[in-house]
């Protein structure tokens, strides 16, 4: 039963890879081209990746910092010593 599910899943994913565009030839890059061209002006940073991480998608990074904070709070809660 589990094998059947696994094989179906495998075929499903391989079909996805088959359908994708060839490696290195993009279907579309409007959003990224805008970011590459305007990152220096709008965020005053040379590193376009950092300007995406902290400026264009800074809210995601805030969420990600929250994830880390949550996990650490969680680990402290789970591993704390409570009397039985």
């Amino acid at each position: 039963m589990r094998w059947v599910a696994f094989v179906v899943f495998a075929a499903f994913l391989l079909f996805a890879a088959y359908e994708l565009h060839p490696f290195g030839e993009l279907d579309d890059s409007r959003m990224d081209d805008y970011i590459i061209s305007n990152a220096q002006n709008e965020t005053a940073a040379n590193n376009a990746v950092t300007s995406v991480v902290f400026d264009y998608r800074g809210y995601d990074t805030l969420g990600e910092a929250t994830v880390l904070f949550t996990a650490i709070a969680g680990a402290l809660v789970v591993l704390r010593r409570v009397k039985k």
Binding site: L26, S29, S37, N46, V49, V67, V78
Partner: protein, 119 residues
């Protein structure tokens, strides 16, 4: 077909990880499987952003003669990957903490022997 090898690699990695999660009973091995799937998806994101012959989108000491933006790889997938790596670390930390507690309570990491975790 031959140029899509990175995509197939990603799929194979996902399947390896999935195999570990579905067919292995050791909780640590399940965590390892999850991490492999996680890495595979991250790799997938990065490969999606590759542009034929592109360089990193960083202007500091950029070699001259690079066409902007046609010869730079996409920055957004790299940022997404960074986010998802950190999320992966967070999940792994919590999962290992839970495994430590399970080991402390039951003295085993075998999911069959742990009382209710049948799957």
């Amino acid at each position: 077909m031959i140029y899509s090898i990175p995509f197939y690699t990603v799929i194979i990695l996902i399947l390896v990880g999935m195999y570990a999660m579905i067919f292995r009973r050791n909780l640590i091995k399940m965590a390892i499987g999850l991490t492999i799937v996680e890495s595979a998806v991250n790799l997938f994101l990065v490969t999606l952003g590759y542009r034929e012959g592109g360089v990193a989108p960083i202007y500091t000491n950029l070699p001259s003669g690079i066409k902007i933006p046609e010869e730079m790889v996409l920055p957004v997938p790299q940022a997404l990957t960074l986010t998802s790596i950190v999320i992966g670390v967070a999940i792994l930390a919590l999962m290992l903490s839970l495994s430590i507690m399970i080991y402390r309570h039951y003295g085993t990491l075998d999911s069959k022997k742990v009382r209710r975790l049948k799957e």
